[in-house]
């Protein structure tokens, strides 16, 4: 468990003055990630996307640690290249410090175009933490669907119209795909519970091998809600179990935040413009289907916890 008093003494390594939208979840995640790293020297990489574009407008930068971006699909390959350089230079005594490596990527850069390089880096066992700041669409290019976009959401490439009602497929379960790589630490987190997130980052950075955190980060533009509701909205994601907060540590599943009472998914969907069309009477079956899928996945997750805690 993270301690807020100690945390407040840690250096701020992502500064204000970046150009992310007010209320953007990605900025909060970046700041909390580096806060969690404390005084440990880190090198950060990022995929192309909102986070990178908004924090590095030349000649300015919001990053006080070394930061590197090169392309959209390769944050993991990039981070593994830096980590390989570190291992080589350390062996030769040219670098003496203990440095940690953190890769960021949006859901597009992670679930879709970047999954190959991410999977490769995890399989090769580079000691890096990959954080997917997951706002469930390609926000930087104007809210297109991604493999992380949930069923029913309206996006600019899966719009709701006369015939189609937003995205018609389920999102892929990347956290499970990453856990299946057998890495020491994989987790799902959310903005709106600093303690849960910071603890996960600290565990991930301490892991002896690759680690992965999939963190839900609302996008006030893409999700269409009031900027001040970022935290509330994400807590609703966990309370409705549409986005459970859990971790897989050395193969052991654990649900980190168990809702006292499981709320209906409509509480999460209703405040967001991207789901507005689902509340038309004729779209009730879609809402039902989403609820069913969420229930089934939640059941399955609980079963996994049971099985793996006994193992």
């Amino acid at each position: 468990m993270a301690n807020i008093k100690e945390l407040s003494k840690n250096p701020e390594r992502v500064t204000g003055g970046h150009r992310l939208c007010a209320g953007c979840g990605a900025g909060i995640v970046a700041r909390q990630t580096l806060l969690a790293a404390g005084n440990t020297p880190v090198v950060v990489t990022s995929a192309t996307g909102c986070l990178e574009v908004s924090t590095t407008i030349f000649p300015y930068t919001a990053w006080k640690s070394s930061f590197f971006h090169s392309a959209f699909e390769n944050s993991a390959a990039t981070c593994s290249g830096i980590e390989a350089a570190y291992r080589s230079l350390k062996k030769q005594g040219k670098v003496t410090e203990d440095i940690r490596f953190i890769a960021f990527g949006g859901d597009g850069g992670t679930y879709d175009i970047g999954i190959q390089s991410l999977s490769g880096a995890m399989e090769r066992g580079h000691k890096i933490l990959y954080v997917c700041y997951n706002n469930e669409a390609y926000m930087n290019t104007g809210i297109q669907r991604s493999g992380a976009t949930p069923r029913g959401a309206h996006t600019t490439t899966a719009p709701s119209g006369k015939v189609h009602q937003g995205k018609e497929q389920n999102r892929k379960d990347l956290t499970e795909i990453m856990a299946a790589h057998g890495i020491p630490y994989a987790a799902q987190a959310y903005v709106g519970n600093w303690n849960d997130y910071v603890t996960k980052v600290q565990k991930a950075l301490a892991a002896n091998g690759p680690s992965f955190i999939n963190v839900l980060t609302p996008c006030r533009l893409g999700w269409a809600y009031k900027p001040e509701d970022t935290m509330t909205l994400n807590r609703l994601a966990v309370e409705t179990c549409i986005w459970p907060s859990y971790e897989v540590e050395n193969g052991i599943y654990k649900i980190n935040v168990k809702p006292k009472e499981k709320k209906p998914i409509t509480e999460f969907l209703k405040p967001q413009g991207r789901f507005k069309h689902l509340f038309k009477p004729e779209n009730a079956p879609i809402l039902e289907q989403i609820q069913k899928e969420v229930d089934a996945k939640w059941e399955l997750l609980q079963k996994k916890v049971e099985i793996f805690s006994k193992a």
Binding site: F58, S66, F68, N74, G81, A85, S88, Q116, S119
Partner: protein
């Protein structure tokens, strides 16, 4: 035949791939990230064995694709490591996006590239379509005529890259050089290490005392300047290549230039070519010279930066020139080397020589002394006015 020119040199029998791997062993980069592709596979395979045997202290990253190979190489270089990779054809194509990033970020990466045709149709044999396709990527491109040159070029490339702050690729012709055994003179490890020196980057990501941001977004207010700086670095690289060649000659006794002139002093007809075919052409020229025909050859070693200013001086007094391209641009007009040569001549106000374009050897199609003799024969007729110069591309040894 290769002779020792360095007192401590050693003659060994090696293929182009073996000798490139040998150069890599001696350079001992901090990181090599690579993905296999014929005919370049052996290079990284041999190198990974060096790593496995503890002969080098490099980190070998066996990535899952060429895109990641170049991404990791770029990142390792940005992190402060000497970083190398090797590839060919489809691999280089998959790196395309990252090639521009390597040069745009001014990273001194060295790549061993084995020239191979590009799909489709799939073909594993040698032509230069792959690297010619990357000619605008801001990489210095050095082509080798044989294994000796491949070895020497790799060693020089390391120094050139670090001085010019530009990535460099060194090529051999697929199978013709990569898989053929030749006698090569290698130099002692220590002397190679002394020649390239220690790598001391000005700024690097692992220097946590001086953290910095690399790969920022550049808007209308800076991007143009950065791209101009890159283009300027390429222009300036000509002198750096020559400087390193001079050092190399002083150290190891082998002389290199941006391009090689063979019997050009009084040449009336000349061929311009890149890579192993230059060797074949030299044989033809010697025969022609015996018959009193004033034939010459220009072998381009450094294709990027293109040595336009000097090449035109050497071609100014030739009556007819054939530029031989081992790739085609599908531009509707001419192939890449021809376009560069002719635009250089025209820009220098030289319109005397008749310049014609031959495309040859695609997908490893044979090119022999007879083909080249026929080209010189044609040049002779054009030079004497007996025949008109053709204006399209002439395709050598192809069935229509």
């Amino acid at each position: 035949m290769i002779k020792t020119v360095y007192p401590k040199g050693r003659l060994v029998a090696k293929t182009g791939n073996e000798v490139m791997a040998e150069a890599m062993r001696q350079i001992e980069p901090d990181v090599v990230a690579a993905y296999p592709i014929t005919p370049a596979t052996e290079i990284v395979q041999i190198f990974s064995q060096f790593v496995a045997d503890g002969i080098v202290k490099s980190e070998y990253v066996a990535v899952e694709s060429e895109h990641s190979a170049m991404s990791a190489t770029i990142a390792a270089s940005a992190a402060g490591a000497r970083a190398m990779t090797g590839t060919s054809s489809q691999g280089l194509s998959l790196m395309w996006e990252m090639l521009y990033i390597a040069s745009g970020l001014r990273l001194p990466i060295v790549m061993a590239e084995v020239n191979r045709a590009i799909s489709a149709p799939i073909n594993i044999h040698g032509d230069q379509s792959d690297t010619m396709g990357a000619r605008d990527a801001g990489w210095i491109q050095i082509y080798s005529e044989n294994s000796q040159e491949a070895y020497d070029n790799m060693i020089q490339a390391t120094k050139i890259a670090e001085k010019a702050k530009l990535p460099v690729l060194v090529t051999t012709d697929g199978f013709i050089i990569s898989h053929c055994m030749e006698v090569v003179e290698t130099y002692p490890d220590e002397d190679v290490k002394n020649f390239i020196g220690e790598y001391k980057p000005d700024r690097y990501l692992l220097d946590t005392k001086r953290p910095y941001t690399l790969g920022s977004i550049d808007l209308q207010d800076y991007y143009f300047e950065h791209r101009w700086q890159l283009a300027q670095a390429m222009r300036d690289a000509k002198d750096i290549v020559l400087e390193v060649a001079k050092d190399f000659e002083n150290t190891f006794g082998r002389k290199y230039d941006l391009y090689e002139k063979f019997m050009m002093d009084d040449a009336e007809i000349a061929v311009v070519v890149i890579g192993s075919t230059a060797g074949t052409a030299k044989v033809v020229i010697k025969e022609l010279r015996e018959k009193g025909i004033k034939a010459g050859l220009i072998k381009i070693r450094v294709f990027r930066p293109f040595p336009a200013e000097t090449i035109v001086k050497d071609l100014a007094n030739v009556k007819a020139i054939a530029v031989m391209d081992r790739s085609d641009s599908c531009s509707g007009t001419y192939a890449p080397v021809y376009s560069d040569v002719v635009s250089a001549l025209y820009a220098a106000g030289i319109t005397g020589p008749k310049a014609i374009n031959y495309v040859y050897g695609l997908g490893g199609r044979e090119i022999n002394t007879e083909h080249i003799a026929a080209i010189y024969d044609k040049l002779g007729k054009i030079a004497s006015g007996a025949e008109k110069a053709f204006t399209g591309i002439e395709y050598v040894n192809v069935r229509f």
